[in-house]
Amino acid sequence: MTDPADPFSEQRRHDGVKLVRAEGQDVPLLLRLRDIKDVCNDTQSFSNDNPLMIILHSEAAVRDVRQLPIESDPPDHTEYRALVEPRFRRPKAPEYQAGIGAIIDSLLDDCLGSAEVEVVRGFALPLQSRGLAQLLGVDESEADLWISWGIHVFRDNELGPKGSELDRYLLAKIEEARESKGDDFFSELNRAEFRGRKLTVEEKHGFANMAFAGGRDTVIHTVSGVIAYVAQHPEALEFLREDANRINTAAEEFVRYVSPLTVITRTCPHATEVLGHEVAAGGRIGLCWPSANRDETVFRSPDQVILDRKPNPHIGFGFGPHNCLGQHQARAILRGLLRAVCDRVERVDLIAAEPEIEQESSYSRQVGYKSLRVRFCGR
């Protein structure tokens, strides 16, 4: 039976490509790990410099600003990224991780005191949002507004499209921090210089838009995936408690297994061919992360969660110069979550799970949950 999270296995083994219809083109999705890594390292042939087109479907209906640094190529990308990289590496510091631990503890306090928790909106969403407030160095109360925006800042299944609200908010924050010497992200963007000049409002907006859109549904789905797994595999917590190193390996394994972002695309400035499929100049190809992360030529028992999997050469955070800027934040959240659940939770009882299904022309794939109702039982 096809795993609902990996509808690519047959074609991955067969020829390594799956075509999917998007924006009037049959986009070839690359399915194998090595092919995807090759493309990631060749930014001249496979470019990110195509605003609004970084995911499979155009985002023109929900935003009009070029997201930075992702929607640019080296050498611009290298310099743009360097402006924000130090902040996005802060999660590697123990004191930062202690802050994330405190956010998780406070959420777990509520969960352990409740008869039932809907994990996606009642746990993962507030965790992601409060974590983002810490990353961006803004008051934790800002997160309450972000939580009200729902799972995806551009579109929420229950709340509908709302990109413009995010844009209004971000532009107001940037303006508010214009003269600020503060240590928050918006003030930092106002102070940043790119090649001897200040960033334009559009560039600052592009950085801010990326920071809010990038690690939201992805983190939420992975956190929900961790809780769902623990609920379905009660022995997992004891296994993790036996060896502290398993917190790291398990966090990486959940990133590999959930692979919450199905496709990122690249645009081909010149006509090219990928694995026998011709792509016209200006056409796109897709990099299918979940498929690469189940590549059976690389991963032993790829469909199984192996909590102490090592080595685990997954590319759940992408690969190459455009790899995920928020990966350190994601790791801090996942490792903190696993540690806290091991310390404080005896077991998680599953009440009901409704998968979130992505539907495309040639496949459908489970990506996290629409709703995940559980009961947390304390130790």
Binding site: L33, R34, K37, D38, N41, K92, N245, N248, T249, A251, E252, V298, R309, K310, P311, N312, P313, H314, I315, F317, F319, G320, Q327, H328, R331, R335
Partner: protein
């Protein structure tokens, strides 16, 4: 007790005495520049790339197949390249010298 020396691109070196555990964790703990160890040592991120001093490669052994999965895509990888998260210190490696690839 074994010692390990990390040398950097600019010629600086860090020597760690009483070295125990894997080289990536040792480097991160002692703040060796150019070793990030982002993935925590599961051979995914490639941010702990070193070149083993030629005099030592027989003792550390070459990169495993899994390391090659990562190193094949790293610029400046050579036959002596290893991911140092995959090298465990041992008495046989007392005096080991590795060169950090990133600056």
């Amino acid at each position: 007790m074994p010692t390990i020396t990390f040398t950097s691109q600019n010629g600086e070196s860090t020597t760690i005495d009483d070295a125990e555990g894997d080289l990536m964790s040792l480097a991160v703990k002692h703040g060796v520049q150019g070793i990030e160890g982002d993935c925590g040592g599961v051979c995914s991120c490639g941010t702990c790339h070193v070149q083993v001093d030629p005099a030592w490669i027989d003792k550390t052994g070459p990169a495993t197949d899994e390391e090659r999965e990562v190193l094949d895509f790293e610029q400046s990888a050579t036959a002596n390249s290893r991911l140092c998260c995959q090298i465990e210190m041992s008495p046989e490696l007392d005096g080991l010298v590795v060169r950090v690839v990133r600056s």
